[in-house]
Amino acid sequence: MASATTKQKILDNAVVCFNRDGIANVRLQHIAEEANMSIGNMTYHFRTKDVIVQAVWEQLVRRQQVLLNEFRVLPLFEDIDRLLASTFALQQEYRFFYLDTLEIMRSYPEIQTAHAQHIQWQVQQMELAIQFNLSRGAFSTEAGDAHFFHLARQFWMTTDLWMYRQSVQQHPADNFWAFRESIWALFIPCFTDMGLREFQQLNALNLEKIF
Amino acid sequence: MKPVFSLAPEVYGQMLDRLSSLFFTDKLGFEPDMNFYRDDQWLSDTAVIDQLNCRRGTWEISLLFAHYKTPMKFISRRIAANTCPKKAGTMAFYMRRLAAKDQRGTLKVDIADMNLTMN
């Protein structure tokens, strides 16, 4: 038990270091200092930096899986909103990963292969959620299958690349409402009347939450 | 080479707007657009005489174009004006020469073309 919590402590501090300095600049020494333990102790649990990076990534993926598993049970609009909120929070927590995804993937090819599969799984879940909304009449089938094919992929591309693109455009990366707006804009053209009404109700609810 | 000139974003946007509107107006023309040319083409087959009128202190030069085949089809156009009558006369002379199809005046107008009724 002690081992598990120590491991978690190391990983948490690793994330802090990565977020602060960028994954490339962090050494085992830094993580050990941050976690207030000796290097020897730390390497007992995680032999190299690569092992730590792998573990952190697995942690992130597991949390995303939990979110998506909750989501796909009944993906109504308010569930989509909740998914967006929790995904955004997760991104802020693992900032270093989202700001530097492409570089990380280049440096850790095993993670890249696994991550590719993870993304495919995410796309499938979103496709199912879209199907659900089509059959319950919230989305209109007018647009055609090809459109929904792209929509599922655009959803993840927009979500995953949000922080990256904000930084490329020199906009703040912590503005949740801009993030939410960008994602909903992908869905809005597919709404039926029922969908539009539900979306407007959702917006009204959200405004209440802010004030 | 670093660019020394940079455009403000709003200006760039306006420039793009103008370019886009060019594509609205810069379209291929239609047949009826050329009617103005066809309608006035008879003017190239005319005999021209000049006329001077003193109006409001200036000498106005008018050219009178009459079609050589159907002289009843004619038009008078005010071309230019000059305060000095002599200058106006010279201007009229040269303008007539320029406008006329047949400068040397060998075009003949046949009385039969006039088609007058002698009732």
Binding site: A116, A146, R165 | S20
Partner: protein
């Protein structure tokens, strides 16, 4: 192609594989097939090479932006997409090395931001023009065309590295499909006709 050009092309190839930070002058010299001394004659140091590569990049980017002059119609946009595809394909390293560049070459980042602003402006104006022409619907919800502009820009810029991340192909037609898929929900009937007649039938993805 003279030696300088060959050096730059080799540098671009290496940057794409290993990243700007990791490439050494020796590697560039080897890839070009010349000695390091010869390389030093043309480019004083790595910084000079990186700056020169970015000059090439911005030059090509300017040309793509100028192709807006050909027209804001759908066909010309399709053509511009083709140019964007080969541009982002050739200079793959740019996006990946963004933060490295930001740290060491801030002037380059400034110029890049200018280009990004112009790119966004062009996309926005294309949308406006096509609304005027009756090809696209009027904004169904206020402000959505701004978001659409951003999403289109994002697709154009990031689609390729994202595909590589997922282990999926990066062909030009898939790229164009992804971009048009963003715009097609907003076509009017006239727009759909023009798109089908002049650009491609809508359901091309296989």
């Amino acid at each position: 192609m003279n030696t300088k050009q060959r050096i730059l092309e080799a540098a671009i190839r290496l940057f794409n594989v290993d990243g700007v930070a990791n490439v050494r002058l020796q590697q560039i010299a080897d890839e070009t097939g010349i000695s390091v001394g010869n390389l030093a004659y043309h480019f004083k140091n790595k910084e000079a090479i990186v700056t020169a590569v970015y000059e090439m990049l911005f030059d090509e980017f300017s040309q793509i932006l100028s192709s807006y002059l050909l027209g804001p119609n759908l066909t010309e946009f399709d053509r511009q997409l083709m140019l964007y595809h080969s541009f982002f394909s050739k200079y793959r390293f740019y996006l990946i090395d963004l933060f490295e560049i930001e740290r060491s070459y801030p002037a380059i980042i400034d110029r890049w931001h200018q280009f990004v602003r112009k790119m966004l402006m062009q996309i926005r104006k294309r949308l406006d023009y096509n609304v005027q022409r009756g090809i696209l619907l009027q904004e169904p919800i206020s402000g959505i065309y701004d978001t659409l502009t951003n999403n289109i820009w994002m697709t154009i810029t990031f689609w390729m590295p994202q595909q590589v991340l997922k282990g999926e192909p990066v062909s030009e037609s898939l790229f164009k499909d992804a971009v048009w898929a963003q715009i097609s929900p907003y076509f009017t009937l006239k727009g759909l006709d023009e798109f089908a007649a002049e650009v491609r039938p809508l359901d091309l993805h296989n």
